[in-house]
């Protein structure tokens, strides 16, 4: 019984509805009611995003119209034409930074989590606690500290530097997710590998990581999104080079005396599209990351 429950929790789940209360398939009508409610909830939740799009299409002189236009009648594409003309390279930088952060976060947090979950290092509990404390430090304090370190090391205004900084947002959380998940991996699997003569590293790469696919996707998604939308670190560590992430690209429209809000919002919309696409594609794999180890017979 224990084995079957655990294996079910551990095996990759690509279908939605894992653990669904098995009360038989509800009739089609009931399910469409749910879809209707779902659409309403999503619409309410995404209304501010709609508003963002609305503002991005508004002319400067209508910005403060009272009452505001619900749909952008007399709209303008000025914002978008500016953005598409200037900001696309920054999207590329953001992508590189995001992917770099994912790779670095996984490389750092997965082995550490494996150790904490399965290898029983002395002081592992203290380490977990320290990782929790690490997340408590306000970002501005981290940013100022990084500035000092980076200036001394001379890596200010490099993509690597930004990847390192952004990973600090994701690594402690990544360790937490991976640890929780890896705790749930049955020891029999690991022992089987050991009996076959595999080293700890080999066990890690050939047994643990493939089985952890869902938590890998979860951690990757979180770290990518956090890096993609990061503004504070990019701003502090920016030396003004040409390779800026898209969040800093917004500054091109924030002058010292004037701000072009339609362009700012257009930048945000354009920046959100790739991330949103990624989200839709990846969401089915984001599951079982946090909790597989928490529910056992």
């Amino acid at each position: 019984m224990a084995t079957t429950t655990v294996t079910r929790a551990v095996t990759t789940r690509t279908t939605r509805g894992a653990g669904r209360p098995a009360t038989g398939t509800p009739p089609a009508a009931k399910r469409w009611w749910r879809t209707a409610f779902g659409v309403v909830f999503t619409a309410v939740m995404l209304f501010p995003v709609y508003w963002m799009v609305n503002v991005s299409l508004t002319r400067d002189q209508d910005m403060r119209k009272s009452p505001p236009n619900l749909i952008p009648i007399d709209g303008t594409l000025h914002g978008y034409s500016t953005v598409l003309g200037q900001q696309l390279p920054f999207l590329g930088t953001s992508l590189v930074v995001g992917l770099g952060t994912v790779v670095l976060t996984l490389a750092l947090s997965a082995p550490a989590a494996y150790s904490l979950a399965k290898l029983g290092p002395r002081g592992g509990g203290a380490m977990s606690f320290v990782l929790l404390i690490a997340q408590m430090i306000p970002a501005i304090i981290m940013a100022m500290g990084f500035y000092t370190i980076y200036v001394q090391l001379g890596i200010l205004d490099t993509i690597w530097g930004l990847v390192l900084a952004d990973s600090t947002i994701a690594v402690p959380f990544g360790v937490l997710i991976f640890t929780a998940f890896m705790r749930g991996i049955p020891d029999e699997l690991l022992n089987a590998a050991r009996i076959d003569g595999a080293s700890t590293w080999r066990t890690f790469t050939s047994v643990v990581m493939p089985v952890s696919r869902n938590s890998i996707v979860t951690v990757s998604l979180f770290s990518f999104l956090w890096a993609w939308s990061d503004f504070l670190f990019a701003n502090t560590l920016d030396g003004g080079g040409d390779a800026k992430p898209i969040t800093l690209g917004i500054y091109a429209y924030i002058g010292n005396n004037n701000q072009e809000w339609n362009s700012i919002m257009a930048t945000a919309v354009v920046a959100s599209i790739p991330a949103a696409v990624l989200l839709v594609l990846a969401q089915r794999y984001v599951a079982a990351g946090v909790t597989a180890g928490a529910v056992k017979d």
């Binding site: 939605r16 653990g19 209360p21 909830f41 029983g120 408590m136 430090i137 970002a139 969401q283 529910v295």
Partner: protein
């Protein structure tokens, strides 16, 4: 319920020591040391990373709060050591008590409402229906917007005169509410925006928690005659307790640090009615033309200590639950 697997040793069970010859015992001790070394080797990159990137800024911050820095001494580096004087000044400042109160309200209301809504939505989406996957993914969109943009959008929507929220309220007969410019409503306004931003995170975690609950338990409950509501409270919610705990804890830690949203929407005003500790810290350090880094660092440290205390309480409670 939660099996503790943290102390798994690679070399399985321990046979009785009287039976084993000294050489075997020696080899075993050696093997255990090796195992510890391996364990720490896996942990080493993160440990080094923590020291370099977290310990250093933290230490700098503590140093800033224990000395009295002016802009001149910040640049030159010769600031006098003043011990806990900065802390005394912060505690006796007129902004301190309101800031603590606002922080408490902001954090507690945020995490509770975000959690409740996240859980409710997770349960709603748990039963698959057409488009549920797509809609669930769309719910995460607020999360990937830069905070500058989300906060600005909410700021626009809640503008007293040209905001869509007041336009809507006006159309149903409610008068103009000064969301961001009235001391009575400013905290509420930033709460709403913060909750909106926090729902996706809670939704994702709680949803994956629900995924981990085996279906047989629901079947068994249904067979015993439990209805949907009872199934939720008797089966789902208790099994979600560890996930709930970690979600609330992380929510607490993250919300305590929140400052972008409040800063962009109200800058902590009007007259400090939405100033939390994080906002106050930023105001002192970067919000005026004459930065006061020592006081800013001091308030920052107070923030970290509060988070630390809550973290310790959580660890205590978790240990007790696991026993």
């Amino acid at each position: 319920m939660t099996t503790d697997t943290t102390s798994l040793r690679p070399s399985a069970a321990r046979p009785r020591t009287e039976d084993t010859p000294a050489s075997v015992r020696g080899r075993r001790a050696h093997a255990q040391r090796r195992a510890q070394l391996t364990a720490w080797a896996f942990l080493a990159p993160v440990a080094l990373y923590l020291v370099l990137f977290y310990a250093y800024p933290l230490w700098k911050n503590i140093e800033l709060s224990l000395k009295h820095y002016t802009v001149a001494s910040f640049v030159s580096g010769n600031a006098p050591f003043v011990g806990l004087q900065n802390f005394a000044d912060v505690f006796s400042s007129a902004t301190f008590a309101p800031a603590i109160w606002h922080t408490a309200v902001f954090v507690l209301v945020s995490i509770l409402v975000q959690f409740a809504l996240g859980l409710a939505l997770a349960v709603f989406f748990h039963n698959s229906f057409p488009l549920s996957g797509l809609l669930r993914a769309l719910f995460l969109v607020p999360w990937l917007l830069p905070l500058l943009v989300s906060a600005s959008t909410w700021s626009w929507m809640m503008n007293s005169d040209s905001g869509i929220v007041n336009a809507f309220l006006g159309s149903v007969g409610i008068g103009q509410i000064n969301w961001l410019t009235s001391p009575d409503w400013s905290l509420f306004a930033v709460l709403v925006a913060n909750i909106w931003i926090g729902i996706p995170f809670n939704l994702v975690i709680m949803y994956s928690g629900l995924q981990g609950i085996p279906g047989e338990l629901y079947e068994a409950a249904a067979l015993d005659g439990a209805n949907g509501w009872q199934r939720f409270w008797r089966v789902t919610f208790p099994l979600l307790r560890p996930v709930t705990a970690i979600t609330l804890l992380l929510g607490f830690v993250y919300t305590l640090k929140v400052f972008d949203i409040i800063w962009i929407m109200t800058k902590g005003g009007p007259s400090g009615s939405s100033t939390t500790l994080a906002i106050w810290s930023y105001q002192l350090g970067f919000g005026s033309l004459l930065p006061d880094f020592s006081s800013a660092a001091t308030v920052g440290n107070v923030l970290i200590v509060i988070a630390l205390v809550v973290g310790l309480i959580y660890a205590r409670v978790q240990r007790r639950l696991e026993v």
